[in-house]
Amino acid sequence: MKFAFYPGCSLESSAKEYRASTERVARTLGLQLEEIPGWVCCGSTPAHMSDRILSIALPSHTLLLAERMKTEGVLVSCASCYSRLKAANDAVKRDASVREQVAQAIGATYEGNVPVYHMLEMVAKCMDRPGFEEKVKRKLKGLKVASYYGCLLVRPPSITGFDDREDPQLMDRMVAALGAEPVKWRYKVECCGAALAFTNADIALKLSGDILEDAKSSGADVVAVACPLCQSNLDLRQRNIEKYAGIDLEVPVLYFTQILGLAFGYSAGALGLGKHMINPVPVLKKRGIHV
């Protein structure tokens, strides 16, 4: 199956390991990813906070580029990109005036018909196909994983239509299929603070700290994420969180594609495990997973 791949800005910089692990597991799963040539930033939250038409026009331009590629649809890694691409599809389909204004801005009419999938949805589909079990070379037995979905994969449900809005299961199912243990915890769809980490750091440190504390007290060895901004708030800022809240955390935060890649037998280097601030290798070793 061929997809038009939309990596998004973070995967070219702060989330290179998300890209590396996504490309590797896609290959093993038989998903062919072809990057959309000339894609532009989705505008993320700052665009919709500033100008509605801009926030629809930017993703519409990229989706039009993807439409010409004749694939199954667009495959996205970042939860924020996913939400903005889907919001654009919804807006141009539903509102003729928006469609017209967007067409004027991008110089072509986009009708909103390119399907958009998050990588996690695709992994879940692949898991249900025969032959998946044979791909698992390394069982992750004993590893306790808190699956963190955050906000924009599941919300707003009218736009994303992704799993259950309050208690999603796709990542938990993946974790279980790899022999690891999905942890039951309360913060799987709570907000990490997102871009408030720039402007109101205390809020993001508190929200992210609450998430990590709950994961830890629920017995998780690692937190699994599906969004580069969540990863950066939980991992990159973890030392700041510890200082802010006066607690010890030391909770590694892995992309779900890295966990899947470990089970497929890829090395730590291939999956970019060394790029995290909190080193996941010791806890993996403790659980008998030698990478």
């Binding site: 800005c9 290179k16 894609w39 991008i106 919300r155 402007t199 790029k275």
Partner: protein, 189 residues
């Protein structure tokens, strides 16, 4: 003057409510103040008004109070409110609309950092077409005056090659600038 009786006048507060409803596409008037949005708002503890209170201000046409609230800037757009609203109001769209209006009307109330961040982000997007993360941090720190913000993480990020030092480059990225310019022009007309 009408001879048949007093003219049916629009309530004075209706104007602002109608404006917000038209621009956001959301029916704010159907909010019955159950407070579910406020109960689930992760940032509610830090806001001067709760999300449901801001909706009430809009219903009452209290424009100044709504636009000067810190709530509209602290809202993280996490969508927890929209996922749970029994009246199916997409509250983030209402917040977006209030943010646009506050900026257009020149409200500079705290927290000033959020509009500065928006500006840095959009300037970066216009210049490069894709986010140049190193530049985003740099330009935001300069504009906000928080010069050392996040600099503690820079050495490790550079060492781990987790931050691209050079700007993104790809054919076609300049289309973002054209799109932004087109929109700016159509607004001026």
């Amino acid at each position: 003057m009408h001879e048949t009786g007093p003219a049916r006048q629009k309530a004075p507060f209706a104007e602002f409510l109608e404006e917000v409803e038209r621009e956001s596409g959301e029916k704010v008037r159907v909010c019955y103040q159950c407070g579910k949005c406020s109960a689930g708002c992760p940032v509610g503890y830090a806001m001067d008004l709760l999300p449901s209170q801001v909706l009430r201000l809009v219903q009452l046409g209290l424009k100044h109070e709504a636009l000067s609230s810190s709530t509209i800037w602290l809202c993280a757009s996490c969508e927890a409110c929209a996922a749970r609203c029994p009246r199916e109001i997409e509250i983030v769209r209402v917040m977006d609309c209030l943010r646009h209006k506050a900026r257009a009307a020149g409200y500079t109330h705290a927290p000033r950092e959020v509009p500065i961040f928006l500006q840095s982000f959009l300037a970066n997007l216009k210049r490069f077409g894709r986010m140049y993360e190193a530049m985003l941090v740099g330009s935001y720190n300069l504009a906000s005056g928080h010069l050392t913000k996040d600099m503690d993480k820079a050495p490790a990020m550079i060492l781990k090659r987790k931050i691209a030092l050079m700007p993104p480059r790809a054919k076609g990225m300049e289309r973002a600038r054209e799109i932004i310019k087109n929109l700016e022009e159509s607004k001026r007309r």
